[in-house]
Symmetry: D3
Subunit: 270 residues, 6 copies
């Protein structure tokens, strides 16, 4: 396993635990963060042994969002021509988005475990995960509005599909902080836990259950749900039919069927 | 009314009651089921007297999903060439999907009344209905994941629009069983009832209310909501304008208006 | 500020308060209403001083929906040829839709404050607002179904994105009345208040918070959420990158950053 | 092979020759035509031996379009209520469209061989074919405009993708007749032939070439081009990747490769 | 008929002749032009007597495109904040686009008759017309590239559907001038004429033919082709079915049918 | 400039000349080719000095398409499980597609200069270029069909937009070879040249003209045409308005305007 500056990554029992590891900076997302996350998820995608991912933050808080120093640096690099600046900024934003697209498009499920602050860019990040879980005292805020800007690395694009249109707008316009309880009520997280230790235990247990399923089935399921976020029902039906035309010829069905008959737990190859 | 092997169908008070009728097999979906459901919904579509449909399962359970014998048979029919097998499987899946598309595209509202097990293919089926109601002790599980496959007859396509993206993924990845209470909380069903008898009474009463409305208005309303699942708001507005350009010339408006003025209950033609 | 027949409009503290003002007619939407609302929202769009809008109804009720006299008039104006009538009706419906599109596409957030009746066309209207708040005893009903018609000025198009597909169909097919409590539970409103006075206070306070944010940031945020209702995640990401390519060159970021550093409240230009 | 009233169907050398066979009625499309064409193309789809289809018209003309008697009958069946009539008409049109969708969605390529008249509904039909060939003196006209109606079984939907937007509108608005030469110039047909005999020879030869290719490869190619008519480039790329994930495991690649090495003609299984 | 500053408008034989009338300025598009064209096309849309439109330019040239004075004025009106300037520019461009959208969305066919220069904004304009005809010595150039900008009022959006993707890019990147002959070859115009007088005669004759058709049929045909530029084939088929559900109940079918039987010319009501 | 194994790359007069450089292998696309092309186009994208690209093939032929050795290698790497093989193949195809997406999405125009063979994968490649030019004796063939497979790196996705649907299908089903003359007639190339030397001269001259234009304007123009291949006209209009909101604040407009006034040639910054 490679070493990273902004993350600590561990692999055990087919679960990759990806931890943002700058607790002294409230896990603010610096230059290392944005490039390493791409490398890490490429490794996850290519490593058959990894079947599921848990994403968490070291220390008291999940993350305070983008590092303001980094933002200031981008501003400093601009020149005099508005048009050429726009070109530079547009490419910079697309590049940052690519970091979270790597999470969204990862072929394995990604579970976010959130405690303490989850602010600004951190919401963009967890919106790109498959599922979200948090402590009761977690604090969520779409902080970008208070920086004088519209959030541009994914929150406004992915969150409406998760929490619905009405409350989405209130949170985005006001930057209001919500706690774990309200987050669960509006569907932002699936479940809350009493504290950080219970949170990690709970999420790891859930990840363990997913790791036991057929990886062929999990991959197809994730691809289909991701696809449906953006496509029509009829296109989705045609896509799964084409997908399963190959995948139903996999051995995993026979393995599952046999286990079902013999009331045993199936063992699937990576 | 025709006789069916896998269903019992009754028509009374403009309500068609379609009941899966293989209680000794936990209403597992066999070959008869998949072909008869198309015939039944074609008949419903063409019979003006039917204004609304209730779909239920005979016995203690709604349905345990696809008949595993049938699945095994499909596997047996495959040949040696992977490409030609893929072609056969793809068409088979599209054919099974067509059975539930018949429910989804039916011009009359379809209300599902669910007790006991509602597993695997049964969730694909109720996702294609307009509304879902259940007993408190109903048990829902996206069981396909435990068969080593991604669900391919509609759950992954239609359910995200009903329960949202976050919990959808958890249920699809884990196959976790949820009861009626949680089903209502996440929006999978609209209401729970104490037991099967209260459930059928409640759903029939609701169906009765819908049966009294103008069938022209109900049809347009269903078409528009179905359309919006897959289209843009501006396209939807243009579509209803074109639709109502004809339908507002129907007598039903005058009937409704007159009844409204005279404080009487309107009677609409089939 | 212009005078209106169907509305009273006030501007204070950067908040435009648009009040439907025909309480003696339960704020029924007459000919004046449909044309004036376009003028008012054009003025709001072009007036930099307005940063946020509160939409309410004078008197005991928000609105009883479209004026039935107006509907009857449309019917009276029809001729003998079904095809030419269809053309007239289609254009009439598109014209009415344009009135609520003006609300939907307004560049400033619109908050609806709802008490008493919110029936038929009134639901079409509030579905076009950004957020909805109501009193506990508010009464919502998709009344069109009882007029023998499918709703055609926006409810069927916009509401499914707000409250989800399942309960949407029940409300649209039955016209069932729901109160403020249930409205909040299904996500139709974001919050309920004890009475009309508390409602207006609460909504004005929320509007005040939004008015203090950067108008450049608010505008971009609204545009992006509106865009995502109808577009793919990847298109949305590309759109915000192009949008922010210009907007991040605005002074508002520096203002916000400076205020953040000095722990002061930022003051943004209109 | 079944017998048909409106068609004569032959199968030889893996080519199905489907001939409209009512020359005494200029091959006008009557009730038999519309239902039999669905049966024929279902048979084609399910018969592995058929690898390609040639569609032609017996006698001096390809077809004069829809049978006016049939159109008159539809009008006669209408009742008094405009709304219910609209419902009947809408379903009738969708049903007629389904006949040509069967051609469009057929898994084997369909080549149209056109001589003499190709009017109204006949253009809708050939627009649903894969390729079109004609005699130099063929006569094409979008005749529906002269019947006081907008063409509604496919011409306006499929032809713009084939001949471009500009000339499309002229032909549809004026109903102007064009000959084989102009048809080729604007891309409506791929090639013209001196007379009907040369036409059939030429098209049969082309069909013969296609029949020799791998049916797995032909099917995938047709599906992809059909898909691209309505989808984005990125979706199309993802779709072919998923499709070929199975199909590249077919034996046909090895057969083709071996034939290529040994400079022999490959023989593919049906 | 109203008087206009930038146009001369005449109505005769159901044909509205709209002529850009600033020959001394090579029909450059000034402030009057952009606002009057909206008024004119609103009048056309609402005037039943107008069945078809011919759009031409007075004098030796069709038009040299946008008035450079007007462009300079927009630049002068900008302030200091890049973000707020962007907002102003974006709305200005959308406003200019609306002028040509009025042509594109007009319910009656619009035929452009082009002689001499057709440069920059003039190509944006004719791309929004239904059909284009020109003299042999007409000169077309996507001139915006030489003004240091990407064309933003419609050329880049509408022209690719008319002339195809390959030559489109060459013309847009180089601004190369093409004559009438090449314009016809690539499908930009449908036909060329020897000189301006022959051009106007020819286009008026074509317009006359269209004016004799059923206006109900013409309207439906235009709407369908416009719709197909942006929608899927299956959506288009459903749309025409819904549209014709009303329109086939028009008297125009009976009028056309009767005329067809009696071999007489049909007379359709406006 | 870096050295490449499969390419020779030169930069002069702001034109990057990218030449496939394996003439002894008919420029067959081997492993080096597929990875180096991504590096080269990343360099082009990031190098402001490059304003336009010419893509050609060294020797007598442009390219014979994918290297068959490489294809055989992929087959050899497959395992026993059909499902896992499908997963491997799907990712491999997506990876190959990414190589040509790099050409398609390059921010600078790419002109292909084609002589001799342009077979199979070579057509996929030139379909991803902006414009195509060839010698009269060039030979194009969608060769994949003869390898027993549907083309899967872009031909079936991009070419229909360039040559239209009708001839597209004939070429894809038959693999028929067409020469430069026919290629021009159907719009596959924009122009033919007598021989390879005239071809390169001509294309370089065209590239030179493009290199003199404002790079800001060229970039916006390419982005808009690329966008329109997959999007609606109304979305395209909104996108260019948002794009130009920033770009019209560039100095290039002023430079162009000043040059226009003084009748001099403008000089734009990179």
């Amino acid at each position: 396993m490679a070493e990273y500056k902004a993350f600590q990554v561990e692999l055990a029992d087919k679960i990759a635990h990806v931890q943002i590891n700058r607790p002294e900076k409230i896990n603010a997302m610096n230059v290392d963060f944005w490039s390493e996350i791409i490398e890490i998820f490429r490794w996850i995608d290519e490593t058959d042994e990894v079947r599921v991912v848990v994403l968490s933050g070291a220390g008291k808080h999940f993350s305070s969002g983008i590092d303001l120093m980094m933002l200031a640096q981008v501003a400093n690099d601009l020149g005099k021509d508005v048009g050429r600046n726009a070109d530079v900024l547009r490419r910079k934003i697309l590049q940052l988005q690519a970091s979270f697209n790597a999470v969204d498009q990862c072929r394995k499920p990604v579970l976010a475990a959130i405690q303490g602050y989850c602010l600004g860019g951190a919401i963009d990040l967890v919106s790109a995960c498959d599922m979200r879980y948090c402590t009761e005292d977690a604090q969520f805020s779409i902080k970008e509005i208070d920086m004088g800007m519209a959030a541009d690395v994914g929150t406004l694009q992915r969150l409406p599909r998760i929490i619905g249109d009405g409350m989405m707008r209130e949170l985005a316009f006001t930057g209001r902080t919500i706690d774990g309880h309200e987050a669960r009520e509006i569907g932002l997280v699936n479940r809350t836990y009493a504290d950080q230790s219970a949170l990690l235990d709970g999420v790891m247990q859930l990840a363990g259950q997913i790791a036991e399923k057929s990886p062929v089935a999990i991959r197809g399921t994730k691809e289909m749900i991701r696809y449906m976020r953006d496509h029509r029902v009829d296109d989705g039906l045609e896509y799964i039919a084409t997908w399963n035309a190959a995948m139903l010829q996999s051995a995993d069905l026979r393995v599952a069927m046999a286990a079902h008959m013999s009331k045993q737990k199936p063992e699937f190859a990576d």
